[in-house]
Amino acid sequence: MGIKIGIDIGSTHTDAVALEGRSLIAADKVMTTQDLTEGLINALRSIISKLGERKNEITSLMIGTTHGLNALHQARNLNRVAIIRIGLPAGEGIPPTFDWPEALERYVTFKFMVRGGHEYTGEEITELDTNKIREIAEEIKDKVDAVAIVSIFSIVNRDHEIRAMEILREKGITTPIILSHEIGGLGLLERENATILNALILNIFNNLISKLKSVLSSMGLESVKIYFAQNDGTVASEDFIRNYPIFTVAGPVSNSIRGAYLLTGIKNAVVMDVGGTTTNVGVLNNGYPRESSVAVEIVGIRTNFRMPDIYTIALGGGTIINCNKIGPESVGYALFDKGISWGGNILTATDVAMVIKNFSLPNANPKLVLEKYSAEYLSKVYENMKRMWEDAIDLMKTEKGDVEVIAVGGGSIMIPEKMIGASKIVVPQNAQYANAIGATLTKVGATVERTFSYETINREIAIKSLIDEAKQLAIRAGAIENTVEVREIEELQMPYLPGNAVKVKVKVVGEFS
């Protein structure tokens, strides 16, 4: 059967688990380090050493990480990128990276706009200016680390993006070339931004993967396959993520939602991941995180790729309670020094919950809390905490009536047994490792979004072509061919447009080897 290792990098802790089939055979927590990689490797070494002789049974390693996001935040060690936007005479009104923060914008060293692109019907706006692409190849040769190409309505017709890439290759450009139709959906600026962000962090992931491989090989584990958690709650192979690292930025958040499903078997629910400083509230939709329908900003840049719909409230285990005011400050991982139950002098959400829910944690003495605060005061605070969680549930559910709620994460023990809006509250066993388990047990996935005019293409043929495309992508991401199946087809009418214009999204998942 083999053993799978899952590692999830959180803001304070890096969690690692080892699973055989679906049973947890080892688990570990280490502190997250500033550069993330060090903590990740500590966690990896530690969990492998816990396995002892059985380490040779490890078949795969799944990682949920915010490496990409961190690198963009710090704006360090990024690639030099050329962006080619195809669409002139349209598109000139807002040049690429127009509203970017300067620290990131300076890495985009070449910006070109070229004639070409398509209409929403798939017809050409104008012919692609192939001569200009050849000139660009001469100009950027040996001067950039990656190239991003975006063409207007490439989600309807990707010909110009592909043709431009071919020309660059013919002219000897050997760096990675990223095409926007493989990154995001409708919305030129948002898709272009996501494509450039992806190009900026390619090397970060190349380095990370090399480092992981050398650690594994130093332990005699050359054949272990590496996968990364993606934003949509699936995983993809290292080879795929080398080209599409931007798909991992929300991996850790999605993992906890996926983990909630895998630990409970409940396919549709509101998931509350209670950490040290915040509660992330998401929604399980058929076993996967529900995706956000609006533009998501990453480091101040608008993008539109698939991200989980998450609502975050500043209430976690370490949240500081001060004169009826709950948070937003938190003691974070210092809880076990500073919380009153541990002999400290700061009242935290965990202190309050231990008294009201009548539980205790290692080395804690909740009686210390009652020496300082009245039971009446504490229950009033807890009522207010409960109301914050209830409001979040209410905001995230999409229809009237009560929903099932799954609580996971280190702070899930604080969640009340009953809440308004919740038909049932489930805190599964191993809830504190939900994110790492989520990464380990999930499937390989791929999503493709295109728009069609059903007057120019038959609906069945359109959807079939999209499914084929998504399947190919899933196989590239590491799925075993005959296990890939369609998980979701979503059709959305586009208002104001005739010709029966629709946006279609297909998502497929499959097993990995």
């Binding site: 598109g91 929403y120 017809e123 706006i125 409708l186 030129l188 009237k400 005739p498």
Partner: protein
């Protein structure tokens, strides 16, 4: 002649105010706002003329037409609307003295300013709707006798057509078909008139109004917005149902809001067709078109467009009296509840509440 200037830092206020006046429709002015910022980055400032004196001066409307969803993908070159204007001038052998917006709600609050920046032709502070409406003939210019034709329609490639419709409806119908053929978005120059007619027919000072509303909202000073517009809070609550369908190219539907605070135990339904049209409780109509119904996020007080409504949003609903020029018998024929298929009499919000 009273004038003032718009600078790059004013653009976010303008787009917020334009979203408010869009009454749920008009398209997201995000793209238009960025294009305008780009113009102002190089130009510094743009002059807005509040009260031109010359009665004989020639005014022309400038706008984008089509699907905002196309515009977020096929971003304009930003010269299209300028070209449409130049072709109008050439074909009609007219010098254009001033540019006017046709609507102040949504993306079309920004396009004429970009045209003004590109051509150097000053822009007048007014428009033909005082809000947003979906069709070309739904302007005060048309209600009071100015024809949209001749109209120039232009695409980014340079394709041009001049439309001479027999009335506003035909002009709209023909232009709509051409827009689709141009790829779903086009740029137009229309409603040529002299300044005397403009000052008589336009809803005046609406650029200033959008800027002021936007500034107040961005500072979270909703009370002052209400005072300024003589507007009323209709309802506070949570969205519990959103129904949508696409019909004849329009996004139609309704939203149901469950009351909180002093509205507890009540529900409000708002019907929309691109814009919000009718707001009612179980047994009472509160506001109808052309008065404005505006839905704001309860927490950040930003306007929510009809396509962004979703379950769980906490909102505050506001009713705003429309400009008097939208409330006359002539105007109501085109933009009253009956024009949108409702068998409801228009009673001004100030008389209903």
């Amino acid at each position: 002649m009273e004038t003032y200037y718009i600078r790059i830092n004013d653009v976010d206020n303008l787009t917020t105010g334009a979203s408010f006046l869009g009454s749920g429709g008009g398209g997201d002015p995000y793209i238009g706002g960025l294009m305008l910022k780009r113009e102002l980055k190089s130009k510094g400032e743009l002059e807005i003329i509040r009260r031109p004196k010359s009665n004989k001066a020639f005014v022309l409307g400038s706008a984008m037409m089509g699907a905002p969803i196309v515009m977020i993908e096929k971003i304009p070159s930003s010269s299209e609307a300028k070209k449409a204007l130049e072709i109008y001038s050439y074909v009609m052998n007219k010098l254009i003295d001033y540019i006017t917006p046709l609507e102040i709600g949504g993306v079309n609050s920004t396009i004429p300013l970009i045209t003004s920046a590109k051509t150097g032709i000053p822009i007048v502070d007014g428009d033909g709707m005082g809000r947003a409406f979906p069709e070309l003939q739904m302007t005060t210019f048309y209600f009071y006798g100015v024809s949209p034709s001749p109209m120039v329609i232009f695409d980014e490639r340079g394709n041009t057509s001049v439309i001479q419709g027999i009335d506003g409806y035909w002009t709209e119908k023909i232009a709509r078909i051409i827009t689709v053929r141009f790829g779903g978005s086009a740029y137009i120059a229309l409603y040529g008139m002299n300044m005397e007619d403009y000052l008589k027919n336009a809803v005046l000072d609406t650029l200033t109004l959008a800027l002021e509303i936007g500034e107040l909202l961005n500072d979270k000073k909703l009370d002052q917005v209400l005072d300024k517009l003589k507007a009323e809070i209709l309802f506070k609550g949570k969205v519990i149902d959103v129904y949508r369908k696409v019909e004849k190219g329009f996004s139609k539907g309704y939203v149901v809001i469950e009351g909180i605070e002093s509205y507890y135990n009540k529900t409000l339904q708002i019907d929309f067709q691109n814009e919000f049209l009718i707001a009612r409780t179980n047994n009472e109509i509160l506001v109808t078109v052309p008065d404005l119904i505006v839905v704001l996020d309860l927490f950040n007080q930003k306007p929510i467009t009809t396509d962004r409504l979703k379950y769980g949003q906490k909102v505050i609903v506001i009713g705003v009296p429309a400009n008097e020029k939208l409330r006359t018998e002539e105007a109501l024929k085109y933009i009253g509840p009956k024009a949108f298929g409702y068998n409801i009499e228009y009673i001004p919000i100030d008389k209903r509440l």
